[in-house]
Every structure is written in structure tokens, then in C-alpha cells.
């Protein structure tokens, strides 16, 4: 045990301390001082993000008995999680779905949730992976069911919790078999045992397939990939909107980070030129490729018929998981970089869209598409911002989503091989289809009569956040050299 290693876990520790402070402050004072709690949360998140940036990937290393990896990849994701949670905290300030009575608990759970995601991205042992995924799972179940006045929230929480418990049970069983085959639980040790699996005989290969598929299934549940996606739309629709926004981005990103780390460092051999090859004869790249195509297709096609915006965004987030999975399947450093870039871009545009939905549903009385009719007239700049987010989600230039998608497709295509080109074309075709439902909202905003001409107002803090996110979406589309440099460095593992 190396005590100094704890210094390297400061970003997570700060969040835990902030959570504790919020709970203590809540218990200690008679009044509900939401302002104070939010300030603690914001300060904790900012401090955590700053510390994680300060950590820097200078000396990649494994911490505390190979439990957590401190490398460019994990360090890249930490501020992303902190940023996403920061937005979720700011969203929650003016949301009517969260009451003052429960705000302290909400914030504490979000803090621990964020720390959990950081652990997931850094996990370098199956023990730590399972534990941290359960940690974010438990926080997420509680936060989804957080709104007791609304049966939908409880129902969503229940479905999510049970689905999650089953998925993690399956994953755990896969892990236990994998442990049996390799005799180890932390990644470096597993790596050492992997070569002996390359020559596994038939029955052993069968066990290996079961193990890999079950473990991948656990990841697929976290990133909401088909066929492990079904919880996702219900959970998003039922969850309080600020948390739905966070959940549509951050845990997915964490799942992708852990999946990428597992696939790239454990199941693959690194080749020259930044490419990876599967280390043994289980065809998981092909399976994941099929899953990617199915995921984006199903997500997009199901989104077409939705009328509830949160639900539509949930399906759209399933589709985006499909796109991002393409970056993983590329099995190259470029693919991992593209994934990182897309995570950041997706964070900005999707949370922006959720914030717009939140703001308008508070002002106009609901989150159906019909509530957005004539919004270009009633709240012109909010309409513009929403349009920017939606077009960016579609992947239209010059918005950030286009660059992100192009980066993903280019990474897949430049991997070579006809199969990869087919994958990229499936991706493009899907982004074409996706325009159909995004444009339906844009049409409602600009081309349909407003339901009434009463002036609407949204809170100025939401307004400022919305414009900032829209500006970032445009800016990253036309000038993203800094981000591209960042992600190029991020794709390296211990």
C-alpha cells in the first residue's frame, strides 16, 4: 500500500468530501439552504476538474495494487464527468421537478455518482470495474426514482434498478468465468495469462465466448446498446430532467471509457501504427460492429415516432451510442481519439438540448413536440439554440456534431478493409435518417403556428447556460484544433 497514491485520487476524494459536507450541512441546519449546498457542489466539481487537469498524464501508472489507472485516457475523462455534473447541478437549480426538501441528497448523490464515473473510467481491475459500475448504478437508480410525487419517476427507477441488477449479475458471472480462465482479476495480470488462451481448445473457447459476451453485455447495458438498451427510454423519460440530461451523457461516456480500456488493453494486442488486433479467436469486433449498426438503426427508427422530447432524445442517445461504438470497433488509436472527441461534443450538444427541453417545459407547460410550436416566435433565441443543438446532433456542418461524426467515420474508414467502409456507410445512412426526427422539432419551432401568443420567459441563468452551450457547439464546429490535440494525446493507455 502506497499512501502517496491517495494523492493521485484527489479528484475523486474532493467529490466525496463535498458530498459529505453537503449532507452534514443539511443535517446541521434547520432550514434548507439550497444555495449553500449548490455552492459546495459547484466548488467541489470545479476543484475536482482542476485537480484532474493538474494531475496530467506525465507519468502513466497504476495506483493502489493495480486497481486504478492514471493515464492520459482516464485523466481525459475526469474533467468531462465533472463538467457534465456541473451542468446537471446548474440545471437543477431552477427545476420544479426537484424540491428543496431533497436538494441536499440530490447533490450528494450526484457528487458520488461523479466520483463513481471517474473510478469506472480509471478501473484497471475487474473488481474495481464491477464495484464502480455498481456505485454509479446505485446512485443512478436512486436519482431516477428521485421524484416521489410522480409515479413515472418511481416506475422508471424500478425498471432501471431491476434491469441494471440483472445486467450486472450477468456481467459478474462472465467475470467469474473469465477469472477462472485467466486466474487473475487485474488487467496487467490478465494480460499475462491471455496468450495461453489464444490456443484454447473447443470447450475452453466456449467458456471464453460466454465470458466475453457476458462481460461485453454488462458494458452494453451501461452504454445502452442493443439488445441491452430497453431500460434507457423509460429511465430518461421518468427521471428528473436535470438528471436525465446527465445520465444521457456521463455514465455512457464512463461505460465507453471502461469498455475501450478493457477491449484495447486486455483483449487486444497493440500493433504498430496505433492499431489493435484481437488477442484470441473470439470474434468480438464483428459482434460489436453488428451491435453498433443495430444500435444506431434501432435508436433512429424508434425515435421517428416519438412525440415526447425526452423520450426522443433518449432514443437519439441510443443511436449516438451506436455511432460511438463504431469508434471503439475501429480498434485503433484514432478510433479511441474519435470516441473521446465525440464524447465531449456529444456532452455539449446533448446537454444543451436537454436544457432547452427543461427550460421550455417549465415555461410552456410540457415536453411534447407540440409545446415547441412557434417557439421561433415566442422565444427566438432559445429556438435558435435548440436548432443549433438538433442540427449538430444530426451531424450537419458547420456544427460540432458534424466534425465529431466525420472524425468517427474517418477513423473507421482509415482502418481499412471493406467491412469498415460498410460500417461507416451504415453510420452515414443513419445520420441521414436521423435528420427526419430532429427536423420535425425544427419545423415545429419555425414553421408552425404557436399554440398561444402569450410571452414566455425562462430564467436568465438557464438562458445564459443555453447560449454558452450553443456557442460552444458552433465554435467547436469551426475551430476545434485544441480539442483535436487534446484527444490525440488522450488515446494512450497504461
Amino acid at each position: 500500500m502506497v499512501p502517496s497514491d491517495f494523492g493521485k485520487l484527489m479528484p475523486e476524494l474532493v467529490l466525496v468530501v463535498a458530498a459529505a459536507l453537503i449532507i452534514v450541512a443539511d443535517v446541521a441546519s434547520a432550514r434548507r439552504r439550497t444555495g449553500l449546498y449548490s455552492s459546495i457542489a459547484v466548488a467541489g466539481l470545479l476543484l475536482s476538474a482542476w485537480l484532474s487537469v493538474r494531475l496530467g498524464p506525465d507519468r502513466p501508472q497504476l495506483l493502489l495494487g493495480n486497481m486504478a489507472a492514471l493515464d492520459a485516457f482516464s485523466v481525459f475523462f475526469m474533467p468531462v464527468f465533472a463538467g457534465a455534473s456541473l451542468l446537471a447541478v446548474l440545471f437543477s437549480l431552477k427545476s420544479s421537478e426537484l424540491t428543496k426538501e431533497r436538494h441536499a441528497e440530490y447533490l450528494a448523490l450526484v457528487m458520488v455518482f461523479t466520483a463513481g464515473m471517474m473510478f469506472v473510467a480509471a478501473a484497471s481491475s475487474l473488481v474495481m470495474l464491477y464495484l464502480s459500475m455498481e456505485m454509479i448504478g446505485i446512485c443512478a437508480y436512486a436519482l431516477t426514482a428521485f421524484n416521489p410525487g410522480h409515479p413515472r419517476s418511481s416506475e422508471a427507477g424500478l425498471k432501471y434498478a431491476i434491469f441494471g441488477a440483472v445486467a450486472s449479475g450477468i456481467m459478474l458471472f462472465g467475470i467469474s468465468i473469465f477469472y477462472g480462465l485467466t486466474g487473475a482479476l487485474d488487467y496487467p495480470e490478465i494480460r499475462r495469462a491471455i496468450p495461453s488462451l489464444a490456443t484454447a481448445n473447443g470447450p475452453q473457447a466456449a467458456l471464453l465466448v460466454v465470458a466475453v459476451v457476458f462481460i461485453t453485455g454488462g458494458f452494453a447495458y451501461k452504454i445502452a446498446a442493443v439488445p441491452f438498451h430497453a431500460w434507457c427510454p423509460d429511465a430518461y423519460e421518468g427521471a428528473p430532467t436535470p438528471f436525465a440530461a446527465l445520465m444521457s451523457v456521463a455514465p455512457k461516456a464512463a461505460g465507453f471509457a471502461a469498455l475501450t480500456r478493457f477491449l484495447y488493453t486486455v483483449l487486444s494486442n497493440a500493433h504498430s501504427g496505433g492499431n489493435f488486433e484481437p488477442a484470441f479467436d473470439v470474434p468480438w469486433p464483428a459482434i460489436l460492429g453488428i451491435v453498433a449498426v443495430l444500435t444506431m438503426t434501432l435508436g433512429n427508427l424508434s425515435a421517428i415516432t416519438q412525440s415526447n422530447l425526452k423520450r426522443m432524445l433518449a432514443y437519439s442517445s441510443i443511436a449516438h451510442a451506436g455511432y460511438m461504438l463504431m469508434g471503439v470497433v475501429a480498434l485503433s488509436r484514432e478510433g479511441a481519439s474519435a470516441l473521446c472527441a465525440y464524447v465531449v461534443i456529444y456532452l455539449i450538444m446533448n446537454m444543451g438540448a436537454f436544457l432547452a427541453v427543461l427550460a421550455v417545459s417549465e415555461a410552456a407547460g410540457g415536453e411534447e413536440i407540440s409545446h415547441w410550436r412557434g417557439m421561433g416566435e415566442r422565444l427566438p433565441l432559445v429556438g435558435v439554440a435548440m436548432t443549433v443543438f438538433l442540427f449538430s446532433l444530426t451531424g450537419l456542418p458547420p456544427f460540432a456534431g458534424f466534425v465529431g461524426k466525420f472524425y468517427l467515420f474517418a477513423a473507421v474508414v482509415s482502418r481499412g478493409g471493406f467491412w469498415y467502409w460498410v460500417l461507416a456507410v451504415a453510420g452515414i445512412l443513419n445520420s441521414v435518417v436521423s435528420l427526419y426526427y430532429y427536423a420535425r422539432i425544427v419545423r415545429a419551432i419555425y414553421l408552425e403556428e404557436p399554440a398561444s401568443n402569450e410571452p414566455l420567459t425562462i430564467h436568465s441563468s438557464q438562458r445564459v447556460l443555453l447560449y454558452a452551450l450553443a456557442a460552444a457547439t458552433i465554435l467547436l464546429g469551426i475551430y476545434w484544433t485544441p480539442l483535436s490535440e487534446l484527444v490525440a494525446r488522450a488515446a494512450s493507455f497504461v
Partner: protein
């Protein structure tokens, strides 16, 4: 030899009770059978030399999780109601999936693995103690955090609110 006999009795007990859990139409019977399964698993842990785990299994699982589940069963069903339902969906596809998985697993286990004895001879408890504050200190602390947050979460969700909150968009109506 006696060990093998004892093991097979325990195994039969464990599987038998698990079958009742999985197939029974009465949820209370299911729950009590699960209790048996958990005890059986604890006994198996003991036989494999994992004494500490056996104790944990009995204390946390039987003493904690099982009680929670029984509580839930009792609270959500009026106890006097004899016909406590545990209806299930058509069994065939579920059975097909389960049997398929079982087949693959058994094929792998019986033909792909060496037939060592499963008994751990070493004293594991001191090793576990050392690992908890050594190589596994991070998961140890993190699991403490998980328990705390689970506590907070379940309290928040299960407590009755005086004021009810509205869903999104219903506030202004």
C-alpha cells in the same frame, strides 16, 4: 469419501431450494427457499475452505438481504392473503434460454477445465484481512461509500413526503 457425500447432499439441497425459488407459484415459499439456497451456498463456501466468506454469507446475505426481501414481501402483500401470487410468464422461452446457457457452461466446465479439487487448503482469512487494507484498500473504501450512498438513497426514496412534487411541466397548470 465422506466429504464427497456431504458435498453432494449440500449441492442437492442448494439446487433443490433454488429450484423452488425459481419455480414456486407462491412468493413466500420462494423467499424462504432462497434462504435455504443462501445457507447452502454458505455451507459450500465452508467446504471449500473459505470460512470467512461462509460467515459473511450468513451474516450479510441471510441476515441482511434476505430480511430485506422478506420485509418487502410482507409489506407489499397482505400476509393473511393465502394466495400470494407469484405468477410467471409462459415458461418455454425462458427455459430455452436458461437451458442453452447451462448446456454451454456444462460443456465448457466438464471438457475444458482440469479436474482439481476445489478445496482451498491455505488459511484465507488472514490473507483477506491483509488484502482489505493492502492491495484492495481502494475497493474496500469505495464499497463503504457505496453502502453509505445506498443508505441515503433508499431513505430519500422510501420516506413519505409532506409536500408532493409535480412532474415536469405540470407545475404551472
Amino acid at each position: 469419501m465422506a466429504e464427497a457425500v456431504v458435498f453432494y447432499i449440500i449441492a442437492a439441497f442448494t439446487i433443490g431450494t433454488a429450484c423452488v425459488t425459481a419455480f414456486s407459484g407462491n412468493i413466500i415459499r420462494s423467499a424462504f427457499s432462497l434462504l435455504g439456497t443462501l445457507v447452502g451456498v454458505a455451507a459450500m463456501f465452508g467446504m471449500m475452505g473459505a470460512d470467512f466468506l461462509a460467515v459473511i454469507q450468513v451474516m450479510i446475505y441471510v441476515g441482511g438481504v434476505m430480511v430485506l426481501i422478506l420485509f418487502a414481501v410482507m409489506l407489499t402483500h397482505r400476509i393473511k392473503d393465502v394466495n400470494v401470487s407469484n405468477r410467471s410468464l409462459p415458461a418455454f422461452p425462458g427455459a430455452a434460454v436458461a437451458v442453452l446457457v447451462l448446456g454451454v457452461l456444462l460443456y465448457g466446465i466438464w471438457y475444458g477445465l482440469p479436474g482439481d479439487t476445489a478445496r482451498v487448503e491455505a488459511k484465507m482469512t488472514p490473507l483477506i484481512g491483509k488484502a482489505l487494507v493492502g492491495s484492495h484498500v481502494l475497493p474496500f473504501l469505495a464499497s463503504g461509500l457505496v453502502l453509505l450512498i445506498a443508505l441515503i438513497g433508499s431513505v430519500v426514496i422510501a420516506r413519505r413526503e409532506e409536500t408532493f412534487v409535480c412532474g415536469p411541466g405540470e407545475a404551472k397548470r
